[in-house]
Amino acid sequence: MSENDFLLLVRGPLLTGATIIFMLGIVVRLLEILVLGRKRNLAEPRGSAVKGGLRTIVMRSIAERETLQRTAFTEVTGWIFHIGFLVTLFFYTPHILLISKVAGISWPALPTTVIDALSIVTIITLLAVLIHRIGNRVMRFLSRFQDYLVWTVTFLPVLTGYLAFHRVGLSPTMLIAIHILSVEMLMVVFPFTKLMHAFTLFMSRYYNGAIAGYRGVNS
């Protein structure tokens, strides 16, 4: 197979397949959760469940001071790699172009120098996160195969994207193909793993905040 054939394969059938698994999987999983439902709360409310839920969706992004101090490494690296990943994903020109081709919407991109710097930061942070996962007693104890798999499929698109941008090692065709393939791996793994938190965290935070808000507590 030539490099172009490979690129066409990943841009064509593999991407279509990955998209099907990704979209179908996410919708199935979200509905599987939602359809389970929950019982109506018969106790007299003290506060608003809806307000509490919405509040927690937003506020849970930032830990309060003491927790932040106690878990600074996890919190800070978590913030950095999420922002780095999302900004490079959504504000790099070729990515926006892809989104606009697929969904018809677009927005201004960030300069490539910013994206470049951010991806380096993200790569370093993700490596630090992995080392932390292996080195920290609690995280090592909690970690299963899936956690390392998810780390890998998250790390690879950033790394291959960076290599493709700087065209390191292989031909650009090959590098772009590998980058797209790594994204497809992420998409395929996504619905079956904790990567689902990208969507379910809004539900979880809502439920948490609603349970507390109903009782008049800001969670």
Partner: protein, 363 residues
């Protein structure tokens, strides 16, 4: 002209002064993308170099490559180089035809066996030998026969180098490249549709000045010309880095000369010297003329997902696929959810009342 003359002698015979020769060497160094300091080295080498015999064969091609090389009427540097080589066989250019032409080829092969350069443009059909023949000889047979005595082969144009347009889907003639057939000779690929003329002559000049094959990349292309991507040397690169793109061929961005990435420019994945060597005697190159690079010097450029599709975009209709997937997911999710729910409701109905006697196991 006798082959015994050196190139310098041949030029002098044509009335070219020493000063002219040195100017020619400087231009040649520039053409070969060598540092200007190499001009005297070239001069010295050309003093000694014998004029090699060149056999040029055209198979499944459009003559665009020959056009590219010979389109100027007056002597150019390229033209001069060709004047100094012994082009013993080129069935588009030579005056002789029929048996005489084939005889010329056989003579050249015999006289210079093991020393001549074979230049090939066009791909070779493997589906049926009758698809393309010369003097009743199939392209494959002629190539194999002529290649046997060649010192080196230069595959000119994307067809000879990678199969090119004949090789494009569905490849009706079963076209293959020179390197698909010949494994035991040095092959220099000079792809492009057509290749930049100075690149063709640059490669020939390198061979005849230094007697060696230039350094090649993993696709057999001379690194001096194909070492950097169009994107890397494109004057519009700053716009790419700033995120300024032409969205259509007639918008503000296009008029301001912004990057053509979104219009499908293959510059980032294409290795060639267009951005610096330029075309039409250094006038311009496609991107400078406002058109995205087609990637013609890369393998299978014809099937690389559309000339006007940005390289990072999907080839399929992902939006529609996603919508269908969401629809299917909604149906499947609701069905699975309903099953889950039914299961839980059934469990609730079957629930056995728990009393304080049920908190410990019965032995």
């Amino acid at each position: 002209m006798s082959n015994d003359l050196t190139i310098a002698e041949a030029l002098r015979k044509r009335g070219v002064s020493r000063r002219g020769f040195l100017k020619f060497c400087a231009a040649t160094a520039s053409m070969m993308a060598l540092p200007p300091g190499m001009a005297p080295v070239i001069a010295e080498a050309l003093e000694k170099a014998r004029r090699p015999s060149v056999i040029w064969m055209s198979f499944q091609e459009c003559t665009g490559c020959t056009e590219s090389l010979t389109r100027s009427h007056a002597p150019t540097v390229e033209g001069l180089i060709f004047d100094t080589i012994s082009l013993d066989y080129h069935h588009t250019l030579q005056a002789a035809s029929g048996t005489a032409a084939e005889a010329a080829r056989e003579v050249a092969m015999e006289e210079n066996y093991g020393n001549y350069i074979l230049v090939v443009d066009g791909s070779i059909p493997m589906g049926n030998p009758g698809y393309s023949t010369i003097a009743g000889i199939s392209n494959r047979d002629m190539l194999m026969e002529t290649a046997a005595g060649a010192a080196a082969i230069v595959a000119v144009g994307s067809c000879a180098a990678f199969g090119g347009i004949p090789h494009a889907n569905p490849n009706p003639t079963g076209a293959v490249s020179v390197s698909d057939l010949i494994k035991d000779k040095p092959i220099i690929n000079v792809p492009g549709c057509p290749p930049i003329p100075v690149v063709i002559t640059g490669v020939l000049t390198h061979f005849l000045t230094f007697g060696t094959i230039p350094e090649l990349d993993h696709l057999g292309r001379p690194s001096t010309y194909y070492g950097k991507s169009i994107h890397d040397r494109c004057y519009r690169r700053p716009f790419y880095d700033k995120g300024l793109f032409a969205e259509t061929f007639d918008d503000e961005g296009a008029k301001k000369g912004w990057c053509l990435y979104k219009l499908g420019c293959k510059g980032p994945t294409t290795y060639n010297a267009c951005a610096t060597a330029k075309w039409n005697e250094g006038t311009s190159f496609p991107i400078e003329s406002g058109h995205p690079c087609l990637g013609c010097s890369e393998p299978d450029f014809w099937d690389a997902g559309g000339f006007y599709q940005a390289i990072s975009t999907p080839t399929g209709d992902i939006g529609r696929t996603a919508v269908y997937a969401v629809g299917a997911g909604a149906a499947a999710g609701l069905a699975l959810g309903a099953l889950n729910r039914a299961k839980r409701d059934k469990l609730a109905r079957e629930h056995e009342k728990v009393t304080i006697d049920d908190l410990e196991k019965r032995d």
